[in-house]
Symmetry: C2
């Protein structure tokens, strides 16, 4: 089995503050001096970029990166990479002279010829923004030793889109906020967050709605601050959100214990026995079950179950499991079976 059909360790491993923070991500946008940005580049230029970056990666021995050529990849394998957030949906669609570097744990992914020549991404379980930044910086330095990055003293790192100028850094956290959602305090919290220079999105990136009470929070501004400051700001806002969510959970337990426990346990029962289940319903129920695990109401499954299942129940992962194309109706049945197999451990 190819390495990219396994579940990345940042999805399954435990991490700090994992009762609220599913995962942290840091990405750096980088471009090579003297070559047009991918969307304006000629084929040969794109080829030059992939070659240079692959060559630069070979010199890095610490955490071996392997290259996956997107051009030759079957659609299902591309879909798997998208569903694991290793690549963006737009990147998977391109399929011309683009590819990625992945390490074995899949904590590191470098998209080559996405919107920028390089998109260095580091994923970590739980709240580990600083660690993710350190790892990204280290890889960035290693690559920079062989690559000539486009850099201006005035603007910092140059990028295809001006919103990435400067540090080229986007930090983000995936947070699970069921209690804030139940108590209707989510809107107020999200408003406050956006005033702090941060953006809130649904689970599948820009424009996507929240499913399963999961929100992605990331920095808006990449310029005028140091990398450290950007990450520390995001981290401290996240800490405040964690506090609020935990307080909301305690209040729920104090004021609505019976209803809360009932909702959570029934969600578990339905997930465990349903014959067929849609993706949206599964996400909604998984959210309840994760809340139950994190509040000590359910103790037979691990809290990482949700972060694993939200990947595993997506269409390409389901199809990969049965090695077959599936109709929507079949998918709902296979999804129910898959969830049950994971709940029976």
């Amino acid at each position: 089995m190819s390495p990219y059909v396994n579940l990345s360790t940042w999805i399954s491993d435990e991490g700090p503050e994992q009762d609220v923070v599913l995962s942290s991500r840091v990405r750096l946008a980088r471009n090579i001096e003297g070559i047009a940005y991918p969307n304006n580049a000629r084929k040969e230029e794109l080829e030059t970029v992939t070659k240079c970056v692959q060559e630069a990666a070979k010199n890095i021995n610490k955490d071996k990166l392997h290259y996956i050529n997107m051009d030759n990849l079957p659609e299902i394998e591309k879909g798997l990479l998208v569903e694991k957030n290793m690549v963006s949906p737009e990147f998977a669609k391109k399929g011309s002279k683009n590819g990625i570097l992945l390490n074995n744990s899949e904590k590191i992914s470098v998209m080559i010829n996405e919107e920028d020549h390089l998109r260095i991404q580091v994923f970590m379980p739980g709240l580990q923004l600083n660690k993710a930044l350190d790892m990204a910086d280290e890889l960035d330095d290693d690559l920079e030793s062989s690559l000539d990055y486009a850099y201006s003293k005035k603007w910092g790192y140059l990028s295809a889109c001006p919103t990435n100028l400067g540090t080229g850094l986007r930090g983000s956290v995936m947070v699970h906020l069921p209690a804030l959602n139940f108590t209707d305090s989510i809107a107020k919290m999200l408003e406050a967050v956006s005033k702090l220079g941060l953006v809130v999105r649904g689970i599948y990136g820009e424009g996507s709605k929240s499913i399963g009470n999961i929100y992605q929070i990331s920095n808006q501004i990449t310029m005028g601050s140091t990398e450290k400051d950007i990450i520390n700001n995001l981290e401290s806002v996240t800490q405040k959100i964690i506090e609020q969510e935990r307080r909301a959970r305690n209040n729920l337990m104090k004021n609505n214990e019976i209803k809360l426990k009932d909702k959570i346990k029934r969600s578990f029962g339905i997930l465990k026995y349903a014959h067929t289940i849609s993706s949206n319903e599964a996400m909604r129920l998984l959210s309840n079950v994760k809340l139950g695990i994190d509040m000590g109401i359910i103790d037979i499954v691990n809290t990482r179950l949700m972060s694993k299942l939200i990947i595993l129940i997506r269409p390409c992962h389901l199809q990969k499991n049965v090695d077959n194309e599936l109709s929507a109706e079949e998918r709902d049945i296979i999804r129910a079976e898959l969830i049950q197999s994971k709940l029976n451990v």
Copy 2:
């Protein structure tokens, strides 16, 4: 522990046609010559009746009957007897010079000084009307050897209410008809049944609605036919209903397999994990689960589960379990726990 807090064997034992028929019951109404019917009798007359019947019961050696004096019985114990159908609710409320004879398996119960001096009842699991009639007749003969029954050559056995004149026989079956209910054919079926001289009621007797797709079917007319004919008519109509219900189940499986399986399995999951559950919801879900067991969709629990649980989840049985008075809210939680303990075997 007194014998009357155990679950009667007719509730837990297996029986013929148990996929549709939960249980069969036969009762004979008898009165003693020269004594006023209970509702018009003086205290001393009622006492005479209980004494005579107790005395007569002592001479029966085959299946030892023990006497329970309703006058001295705590409310909770009366409630248990009602919930197991050993006595009628009206009989339990009386509490003056009345009592019952029960055998150990609780297949036989004789109410003394209900509406009539004697109400001999025999309960059997599944469809066993003829066997129940034989047992009732045998007990009736044994008692008659010491008691002087009120009998007229013209009218047969005399009874307090004219609707019981003649044979004094009421046969009934408790049937589970979920598929006929799902497919909306139940109304037509029930109409046909009432044209055949039978009466359909909900699970808790006269005037009660059907809960959990359970219906009680019994003969209307007690006079002008022999006991055998009355029972054979009821049995043959029941056989037809069984056929129709089974056909409706097969059709459901053919036309709605996914939806059917999903509904049944989810019902099982909710019963297994709910934190709190009302009696009505439990009955509805238990009905789905029994259907699933009988159709081979669920194979980890026995089909008698439902007939046991519909007794065990009733208020007095729940309270007896925890040996404590319970609020409605507490009852719903204890009910959920009880169901789960029975589903975990």
